[in-house]
Amino acid sequence: MTSATVAVRETTYREAMRDALREALAEDERVFLMGEDVGRYGGCFAVSLGLLEEFGPERVRDTPLSESGFVGAGVGAAIAGMRPIVEIMTVNFSLLALDQILNNAATLQHMSGGQVHVPLVIRMTTGAGRQLAAQHSHSLEGWYAHIPGIKVLAPATLEDARGMLGPALEDPDPVLLFEHGTLYNASGPLAEDAGPVDIQRAVVRRQGRDLTLISYGGSLPKTLAAAETLAADGIEAEVVDLRVLRPLDDATFTESVRRTHRAVVVDEGWRSGSLSAEVSARITEQCFYDLDSPVLRVCSAEVPMPYARHLEEAALPQPEAIVAAARAVVG
C-alpha cells in the first residue's frame, strides 16, 4: 500500500468524529445519538452538525439538561437492545451522571452474572486550554479509568477520532470516549478509507532510544512537540500514546521503558491519585531493575483550572516542562 493508491484528504478531528458518527448511524439502525444540544444546535462543539437533518429527530435526539436522566435512558436503551451514543457536554457535567455510569452501566454485567450487558457508548469533552474555567476544563478521565466494568478510550489523533467509535459500539459493555477540547480543530491528512482502529493497545507514536514519554489525549501533541525539541539536542525520545486508559496496556509502555531505561509520564490530570501515578507505579513494579532514573511526571497544577489565559497556561503541562523533565531523567 502506498500513498499513490490511497486517497488522502485534509480533515479535522471534529470532522473525523462526525464522519464516524455518520457512519455508525447509517450502518446500524439501532444506533442513535442523544445529548444536550446535539440536534438543532449541532453539538456544543459542532461535532454533530448536520446529523439531525440527515437522520431525523428519532436518531439524533436533544435532551433536557439532566445528565442523570439521559445517561440513565441510554443505559436502559442499551439493555433493551439499542446501541445508544450519549454525548455529555464536558467531563465536569458527567459527575451528575456518575451514579448511572458507575452504579448501573459498569456493574450490571457482573451483578447479573453476565446476563445483562450494557452496550452503551458515552462521549464527552475533557480538558482545559480554552479559557472555560474551573467548571468546564478538568481532566477527570483518570477517575473513570479507576472503574472496573467499563472501557475508557482517549482518541488523540485523526485516525483514532475516526476509528474508535465503531469498535466501541461493537463492544458489548460500556465504553467511554474522552475527546480533548483542544483537539477538535486539529487538522491534517486522513486516508479516505480510514476505518476501525484497535481499542486494546497503546501505540508508539514516535521511536526513540533515550527515554520514553508516556502521554494520551490532549497532552499528546505537546509531548510530540517536546520530543521534537529534544531531538534537536540529540535526545531521542520515544512517545507512547496510551489511547486506552482502561484497561491499561502495560505491555507497550513497559517494553519501551525496558529499552530506554527512563520514563516521563505526561498527564493533564492532577498529579495526586492520577492516571500518571498508576502508570508510574506499574513501571516501578515491572521495570524497577531496568530504570536508570526515577520516573518523573508532568501534570496539571493542583488548583481548580484558572480562567485567565496566562494562569491557565501556567497550570497545564507544557512542552517546556516536558522537555525539562526529560532532560532531568536523561541526566
Partner: protein, 464 residues
C-alpha cells in the same frame, strides 16, 4: 557446628551427585545462600545453606554421587562479632591459602549477582556508612534486608578493624557509597564493574548506566585481571548470565558445561530408510482411532529401547571412573518446556512396553512435562536419552550427553530423499540418526554397532 548435607529434593530421592561448589572454603555463608549445584538425575538444582557460618572444609568432591544426608561440607558457626571470624575460618584458610580475602563474602557467593537493594535501603545504608556491595543478603533470592544493613553497621562500629575495611584495602580511602540507579547496579553486576570504583557521577550525584558503561570500557582496556582486581574475587568471576534467564537456564548451563568439560564425546551417524516403518504405520494406523494413532517418533523410541537392551554398554552411567549399566532401559525423552527449560523425563522400561503403550506414554509425558506435573520417579534415572528435534524441522541433531549417562541419540526430521536400493533409485522417507557416545565408556565401534542394530530393527517394524 552445622554441617551442609545432601538434601532430599523429593520423596523418592535417595542419592544425589554434587555437580559443583558455588562457594569456596573459607567463605562466609548465610542461610539461603546457594552453596552447591546438585544433580538429582532430573536436573541440576542449586542447594542453599540452612545456616549461617563459614565453610570450613569440603568433604565431597564434585562428581561424586552420595546418599541423602551425607555431609558435603562442614560449617563453622558464625558470630556477629567480627573478631571471631578469623578464628572461625582458620581451618578452611589453611587449606586454601590463595583463596583471597574470604571475608568479602557476597561477591563470589553465586555466579549471578543478587538483585539490587531497593532505594530506601540504599539510603539507610548510606546513612550508616555501610557498603551494600559487601553484604550477603539474607532475604528472599539473596536480597539484602534492613536487618543485614543494621547488623553490618553494628559489626563495623565497635571493631578497630571493621569487617569490610579489612577485606578491601582501598576501602578506608574510599568516599561514602554513592547512590546508583537500579539499572546501573544491574549493569555493573553484569559487566563485573565494582560500583565503588566508578568515579564519575551524573548530574544528580548518582551513578547511572552511562557512568557504569564508561567505567567498564576503561576497565576492559588493561590486561584481563587489572591490578586493583587482584584482591577482588568479583573481578575474576566469569561474566554473570544475561538477563531473562531463570534457574532452569542456570542448572542446564551447569549440567551441559559439566558434560562438555568432562565427557569426551564421539559421534557416529547414519541415514536410515524409514520406508518400511512409515508404510507399516500407515497401514496399522488405519485400524486405530484418531487418538490411538502411532507417530513415527514413538516407533523410533521403541526401536531405540530394544536396541539399547541389545547394547547394554551404551545404556547406563559413568560413575566414579567406571561404567555402571542401567538396571533396565528407561529412555529419557528430551522435552522443551515453555519458558526455555528443558527436561528429559524417563519412560520406564521402555523396551517392555507395546508400541501403543509407548505412544500413550510419550503423549502423556510431553503434556505433563509442559504443564509441570512430572512425577519424581520419571525424573529419576533415565539410562539413555533421546532428543528428537524433527518437529523443529532440523535434519540432524548432534547432541550433548546428559551426565552421568554415557550416550544420547539425536533424531532429525523425516525427510524424503532420493534413495538407491537394489540398483534402483526411488524416493524414500529417511531419517538421520546421530549417536553421541562417552569415549570413556565406549568406543566408536560400539556406537556404530548400536546404530546398525537400530537401523535393522527399523526395517522390521512389525517386530516392534
Amino acid at each position: 557446628m552445622a554441617d551442609f548435607t545432601m538434601p532430599s529434593l523429593g520423596a523418592d530421592m535417595d542419592a544425589g551427585t554434587l555437580v559443583e561448589w558455588l562457594v569456596r572454603e573459607g567463605d562466609t555463608v548465610h542461610r539461603g545462600d546457594p552453596m552447591a549445584v546438585v544433580d538429582t538425575d532430573k536436573s541440576a538444582i542449586e542447594v542453599e545453606s540452612f545456616d549461617d557460618g563459614v565453610v570450613e572444609r569440603f568433604l565431597v568432591e564434585p562428581g561424586a554421587r552420595v546418599a541423602v544426608g551425607t555431609t558435603l561440607a562442614s560449617l563453622a558457626p558464625l558470630d556477629d562479632a567480627p573478631t571471631k571470624v578469623p578464628a572461625a575460618r582458620s581451618p578452611g584458610a589453611a587449606t586454601t591459602p590463595a583463596a583471597g580475602p574470604p571475608a568479602r563474602h557476597g561477591h563470589h557467593r553465586r555466579p549471578h549477582t543478587p538483585r539490587a537493594a531497593p532505594p530506601p535501603l540504599r539510603h539507610h545504608a548510606a546513612e550508616l556508612g555501610v557498603d551494600l556491595t559487601t553484604l550477603a543478603g539474607s532475604g528472599p533470592d539473596g536480597t539484602v534486608t534492613r536487618a543485614d544493613v543494621d547488623r553490618a553497621a553494628r559489626a563495623s562500629a565497635p571493631s578497630p578493624l571493621p569487617l569490610q575495611r579489612r577485606a578491601e584495602p582501598g576501602a578506608a580511602t574510599r568516599p561514602r557509597p554513592r547512590r546508583a540507579s537500579p539499572y546501573a547496579r544491574r549493569l555493573a553486576a553484569e559487566l563485573g564493574v565494582d560500583l565503588a570504583s566508578v568515579t564519575e557521577v551524573g548530574g544528580d550525584g548518582a551513578v547511572h548506566a552511562a557512568q557504569v558503561l564508561g567505567a567498564a570500557s576503561t576497565a576492559v582496556a588493561p590486561v584481563p585481571p587489572p591490578p586493583p582486581a587482584a584482591t577482588s574475587p568479583a573481578r575474576v568471576e566469569p561474566p554473570p548470565k544475561p538477563r531473562g534467564t531463570g534457574a532452569s537456564r542456570t542448572t542446564i548451563a551447569a549440567l551441559m558445561s559439566r558434560a562438555k568439560r568432562e565427557i569426551p564425546h564421539y559421534y557416529v551417524a547414519t541415514t536410515v530408510d524409514l520406508g518400511p516403518l512409515t508404510e507399516w504405520l500407515r497401514r496399522s494406523n488405519r485400524e486405530r482411532g484418531v487418538s490411538e494413532r502411532i507417530l513415527p517418533a514413538a516407533a523410533l523410541l521403541k526401536a531405540t529401547a530394544l536396541t539399547a537392551r541389545d547394547h547394554p554398554e551404551l545404556n547406563g552411567f559413568w560413575v566414579d571412573r567406571a561404567f555402571v549399566p542401567g538396571d533396565d532401559v528407561h529412555l529419557g525423552v528430551a522435552v522443551h518446556v515453555r519458558g526455555g527449560a528443558l527436561v528429559a523425563p524417563a519412560i520406564h522400561r521402555t523396551a517392555d512396553l507395546t508400541l501403543p503403550e509407548v505412544m500413550a506414554a510419550l503423549r502423556d509425558l510431553v503434556a505433563r512435562a509442559r504443564s509441570g506435573r512430572l512425577r519424581r520417579a520419571e525424573l529419576a534415572d533415565p539410562t539413555l536419552t533421546v532428543t528428537d528435534l524433527g518437529d523443529q524441522g532440523v535434519e540432524e541433531v548432534i547432541g550433548v550427553i546428559y551426565p552421568p549417562q554415557v550416550a544420547l541419540l539425536g533424531i532429525g526430521r523425516v525427510v524424503e530423499r532420493p534413495w538407491a536400493m537394489d540398483g534402483l533409485i526411488g524416493v524414500r522417507p529417511t531419517v538421520r540418526l546421530t549417536l553421541s557416545g562417552d569415549h570413556r565408556a565406549t568406543d566408536g565401534a560400539a556406537g556404530a554397532r548400536f546404530l546398525n542394530t537400530l537401523e535393522e530393527r527399523l526395517q522390521h517394524p512389525e517386530a516392534l
